[in-house]
Point group: C2
Chain length 275, copies 2
């Protein structure tokens, strides 16, 4: 028997992956959740029919959402991850010795629970004593935080379902308040091939609030178009001016200091979205 | 009725695109050829069940296969494109005023014929008087050429079917002979997610023949993994040392002088393939 999962990334295009077995398929309080084993990508987390992460390619997203803002800040101590219940972002954050505390706020405890069970190499940071987990609404958590975090990462789903409030100017303004005076934030902002309007809107919204606003990209093969964008808002620090001596050796598979800078060099049609 | 074309990019993973109509579906002397209209990508050329090019994303591949080697050479006059029957590469080559002649050698005249008819924006360079078209075996054509070309681009299919000889050390050695004393060549060399061995082999084979060997990448959403590699072999000129004043203004959608350099900055797992 041959079972394939197909994600329609647009109405007319998608990816399809052969499934070995389905571990979980349920409706949580917030979204449809599937945890499956694929032949090509290892175990895969699917939320509302969209691939969230896979064992084989997760390193790209998690390294790039974490290390780019963390190296942009000169000395990050308190870090907040909004969403990111699979644990991959905090695993990367914990590679930074300067970090004293990383708080993860995911609205859906089931994502955390099943990631610990079926994505152990991704969820490997949960037992670290620097990690604090809150199962609650990230939007509300941010609204209650003032000058609390050096770096905030919005590791959300697409702006459908529980994440819809996380792509609004009001949310970016609340993030600005929740950051320390030289804080840095980054959000995943989808892909330029199918979601140009989302990228333009997010970039310009962030630009109205943060003095330094930058877009960067990474190749994530299981995400739509394979080209993913991240939008960074920073109060002071410019990711393009990080000094060579700021970087330190760490085990990565995608990120390097050279990639840090190169990821901000955009293809022309993407660069045009930031104008 | 809903018809979808699915390309199995590996045994266990693929892309799927909704088809509006099929213009051509035939077995040529060399390969299976389909020309279809898709909802998402416009008209699409498929050879041996693999997407070769689409109207919507072709600009990435064609700009990157052409402009990176052409700007690496200080004054390219004679250019050879092996394969590339859709015409996209020569369209980009013709943007360089220094080019006096571009020769296209494709083994399959049907690819040229149907591209002119169904991909007119891609095949737009065929009427230029600097263009010479040869419908013959690129491998043999190269073997008969000595010090004839400043830049050679191998714009081939995957190493199956008619292109199998184009991924061999013997072919790279023949290219070396066919180039002028400061010639530059580039070949598409597939993707690092599913074809790591191919990239390693091609890179090391080229490296044994050319003093300057470099790998660069581009995001092509309809190609496997979305991350495509190109391997460059050069007798003298280093693409990383192109002077700013060498570049000139041209209309592009992907390529910029900044992308020229950034495309050589490789994700760590890709960089490791060149060691």
């Amino acid at each position: 028997m041959s079972i394939w999962f197909t994600e329609k990334q647009t109405d007319n295009f998608g990816i399809t992956a052969k499934i070995k077995q389905t571990f979980v398929s349920e409706r949580t309080d917030f979204q449809e959740l599937q945890m499956v084993e694929t032949e090509e990508w290892g175990n895969m987390l699917i939320l509302d029919d969209m691939v969230m992460t896979t064992e084989k390619d997760e390193f790209v997203y998690h390294e790039m959402v974490a290390h780019v803002p963390l190296f942009t800040h000169p000395n990050p101590k308190n870090v907040l991850v909004v969403g990111g219940g699979d644990g991959g972002a905090i695993r990367e954050v914990l590679k930074h010795q300067s970090v004293e505390r990383v708080t993860l706020v995911d609205i859906d405890g089931k994502v955390i629970e099943y990631s610990k069970k079926y994505l152990p190499t991704i969820a490997s940071g949960y037992n670290d004593k620097r990690v604090e987990v809150k199962v609650e609404d990230g939007f509300m958590y941010i609204a209650d935080s003032k000058k609390a975090f050096d770096v905030i990462m919005v590791d959300s789903t697409e702006p459908v379902g529980p994440a819809v409030n996380l792509f609004t100017k009001g949310f970016y303004a609340a993030i600005h308040e929740a950051l320390t005076d030289d804080g840095v934030f980054v959000a995943q902002t989808d892909n330029p091939w199918f979601k140009a309007d989302l990228i333009k809107q997010a970039f310009h919204d962030v630009q109205e609030i943060f003095p330094v606003t930058r877009l960067y990209t990474a190749n994530i093969p299981t995400y739509p178009s394979g080209l993913w964008t991240f939008t960074m808002g920073s109060k002071i620090h410019d990711p393009l001016k990080v000094k060579e001596e700021r970087f330190f050796e760490m085990e990565t598979k995608y990120f390097t200091p050279e990639i840090h800078f190169a990821s901000f060099v955009l293809p022309k049609f993407v660069k045009d979205m930031t104008k």
